[in-house]
């Protein structure tokens, strides 16, 4: 009898302690995050969507097509297409595909990458409607200069060294065309300067400029289009640089165009439609 009573009292005490503990949680702040409204705090080491960086300063693509990531990937979700350029005898990247449906975000590819090109971003919102749309190509994977700079900064990765002298010489006019920051290049090639303004160095200004260009269709577009179209040829027409340099310029420009955000691409389409008209007017 006494045993039963003491057991009952002990049980009641346990229940009471449990109730107290649970009620005590009322005073603690909820750990739930208002996720879509409030962005969660993510560590720099967070392994999200894979992406390819460009040099935050010059904007050149950092991938050297060494295929180490492709080899190390346990899921075989990376597919690199590259060819050996006959002129420079170096590998040139043609396409870079990552199947994010296969990827398990182990981060091994980022470990082996010698140029810190492939990285894990903090983006994890990749839901899509089909499996095919999870296969990202070079255009989708490559980050803009700002984004690359941001990830180099938060991940505490040393900035990439400038390329060896040959490539650097080739890249100089490309810098001028893309960033429009160097007055020497701008002064040397005025049409190139105009082209740089029309395109804009960053995605935001790119969209702005594009919309402006659309708005001022009649007056400004013939000049802008005229300035834009001959950019590579104007560079090559200077004649002081070898042909390879001109090719490199064209390539880098194409890449920076690809790296731009989608809206910029979309608005550029009507521009190209305008071109023939303006030529006819001329």
């Amino acid at each position: 009898m006494g045993n039963i009573i003491s057991k009952a009292m002990g049980g009641m005490h346990q229940v009471w302690r449990g109730l107290n503990t649970v009620f005590g949680h009322t005073y603690k702040e909820p750990i739930t995050v208002h996720y879509p409204d409030v962005a969660p705090h993510l560590a720099p080491q967070f392994r999200g969507r894979l992406a390819l960086t460009v040099n935050p300063e010059s904007g050149e693509h950092l991938c050297i097509s060494c295929r180490q990531c492709e080899r190390v990937c346990p899921d075989k979700c990376i597919e690199i297409t590259a060819h050996k350029s006959p002129e420079t005898n170096k590998l040139e990247l043609i396409d870079f595909k990552i199947d994010h449906g296969l990827c398990m975000f182990c981060g091994l590819c980022t470990e082996v990458c010698p140029t810190a090109c492939i990285i894990n971003t903090n983006d994890f919102e990749m839901a899509d409607y089909t499996r095919e749309s999870l296969i990202y190509d070079l255009k989708k994977l490559t980050l803009s200069q700002e984004e690359s700079g941001f990830y180099f900064d938060i991940k505490d990765v040393p900035l990439p060294k400038p390329k060896p002298a040959k490539a650097a010489a080739a890249a100089k006019p490309a810098d001028g065309a893309a960033a429009a920051a160097k007055p020497a290049a701008a002064a040397a090639a005025k049409p190139a300067d105009g082209a740089a303004v029309a395109k804009g160095p960053s995605t935001a200004t790119g969209t702005l400029d594009a919309s402006e260009a659309v708005a001022a269709k009649d007056a400004a577009s013939p000049e802008a289009a005229g300035a834009k179209a001959p950019t590579p040829s104007a560079n090559s027409a200077e004649g002081s640089k070898p042909e390879t340099a001109a090719k490199a310029v064209g390539k880098v420009e194409a890449k920076t165009e690809e790296a731009k955000a989608k809206p910029a691409d979309k608005v550029e389409e009507p521009k190209s439609e305008d071109k023939p008209e303006s030529k006819e007017e001329k």
């Binding site: 009952a8 229940v15 449990g18 109730l19 503990t21 649970v22 009620f23 949680h25 009322t26 005073y27 603690k28 702040e29 909820p30 750990i31 739930t32 208002h34």
Partner: protein, 472 residues
């Protein structure tokens, strides 16, 4: 120390807003049907009706309790689901529903709409008649079983007097055993093994826990010498010392003694003690026994009630992890909504019974002598607040003449609401704390612990009340 005052504040805000909506709507409907419509019928506008006007107004007055319950149950269930979800969120450091409407206010309303529009599926091989009847049988007792409580919880308001029965608590207990049949029917008719096991578990559990539940209430009735819930509620008036939880009136003598001896109210202190505790030491002993027994009886009642309405930790009939939510596995759409509705209504009714039988119904817990000591003019101030408010005489006279607010029942109603939802809150706290019983432990606990304990307490109370003057 309290870093969560924001969430607690929101919880309180939601409760207050929803409660005012619920009881505001219920009272407006009651007033329209029970007071405004009969007044209109008997006024000069409806002279053409002749003698039938009298009859119609009588019918209107008679259906008020049923209308009140039918309006109350759906809104209340919506609130209680939200209350439970937000309460559990508080206990588990979450936020709970906070998206639909302002801060999640309308979450359950949206859920209700969703449930009503869902497809109503009857599984193949199910007994269609029984399958359809089960939710009705489960739900109906919470409507007609709750009726006798209305008079008790509204301090015998004239509109609800009609529902009062001389054998009220007996009727309520009889009605509250019916839902078990609904569960067994639903489980059996579903043509699903899990549902069948859930239904049978429910039957076993309900029978086991019906005994301690009824015995504990019977003991209270023995103390009160009545089955009439209004009478039991009225006996407990005059402060917390008169409530049934503290000995069913065994401490009324102490209450009156303090009032007379210390506060200098009418009556002689010595004669009061002698009158209430005639047997000296035996009376003191009996008082202690009565108080202890009544507190234990209240605990047993709440345990049994928890098992009756299948709440955690006694939710074996719908054990999600074992039985895929048991008897209502196959139910969807409006039938599931009815099961859901009835479950939460039952929780409310069980809490109301606890409040009426143990916690003094609409009574103010502060003893009257304390009130008179600190604020002598309190009771008169309340009355004057409602009768003569300076500058608002036109409104107050309208309020009085149309019986919109009756100060006596108004405060009683506020107390009842506060007490009932306190017990609902405690049920949520228990749900957040305790894990589910194993079925054999459940049976052991019911038959080997609670039933003998209640019988023992019953005998103790029957003998102890002879030595003390209790209610009744």
């Amino acid at each position: 120390m309290i870093s969560n005052s924001n969430e607690i504040g929101k919880f309180g805000q939601i409760s207050l807003v929803w409660l005012s909506i619920i009881f505001g709507v219920v009272w407006v409907v009651c007033w329209l049907v029970g007071i405004a419509l009969p007044a209109l019928l008997q006024s000069s506008y409806c002279e053409g009706l002749g003698s039938s006007a009298q009859m119609i107004s009588e019918i209107c007055k008679a259906v008020v309790p049923a209308v009140a319950l039918l309006v109350f149950i759906p809104i209340n269930a919506m609130f209680m689901v939200l209350f439970e979800r937000r309460g559990l969120a508080l206990f588990t450091m979450r936020r709970g529903p906070c998206r639909v409407g302002p801060d999640g206010f309308l979450q359950t309303a949206a859920d209700a709409v969703k449930l009503l529009f869902k497809e109503d599926i009857t599984p193949r091989g199910a007994d269609i008649a029984m399958f359809t009847l089960a939710p009705i049988i489960f739900f109906a007792p919470s409507v007609f079983g709750g009726l006798p409580l209305l008079a008790a919880v509204t301090n015998n308001h004239e509109l609800f007097q009609i529902t009062n029965l001389p054998t009220g608590i007996f009727y309520i207990l009889a009605a509250s055993s019916i839902p078990t049949i609904g569960i067994v029917m639903g489980g059996w008719a579903s043509n699903n093994k899990y549902s069948l096991v859930g239904g049978l578990r429910s039957a076993a559990q309900a029978i086991s826990y019906e005994l301690p539940l009824v015995l504990s209430l019977v003991t209270v009735c023995v103390l009160a010498q009545s089955l009439d819930v209004v009478k039991i509620a009225n006996q407990q008036q005059g402060g917390i010392l008169n409530w049934n939880i503290l000995g069913g009136g065994a401490l009324s003598g102490v209450d009156k003694f303090i009032a007379a001896g210390i506060m200098g109210h009418q009556g002689d202190a010595g004669t009061i003690l002698a009158q209430y505790y005639p047997d000296g030491v035996w009376s003191i002993l009996a008082t202690i026994v009565l108080v202890a027994s009544c507190i234990m009886l209240c605990g047993i009642y709440l345990t049994g009630a928890c098992a009756e309405i299948n709440r955690i930790p006694f939710d074996l009939p719908e054990a999600e992890s074992e039985l895929v939510s048991g008897y209502n596995t196959e139910y969807s759409g409006i039938k599931f909504a009815i099961f859901f509705l009835a479950e939460f209504t039952n929780l409310f009714i069980v809490s109301s019974i606890a409040v009426v039988m143990f916690f003094g119904a609409g009574d103010n817990p502060i003893p009257t002598w304390v009130l008179n000591f600190f604020w002598p003019a309190f009771s008169s101030a309340v009355v004057t607040f409602f009768t003569t408010t300076a500058g608002l005489s036109a409104i107050t006279s309208f309020v009085q003449s149309m019986h919109i607010i009756n100060p006596e029942t108004f405060f009683a109603a506020l107390w009842v609401i506060a007490k009932v939802y306190t017990w609902v809150f405690i049920a949520i706290l228990v749900r957040g704390t305790l894990p589910r019983f194993r079925i054999d432990q459940l049976m052991d606990f019911g038959w080997k612990r609670l039933v003998p304990l209640t019988l023992l307490l019953f005998i103790l109370v029957v003998f102890a009340r002879e030595a003390v003057v209790c209610h009744g």
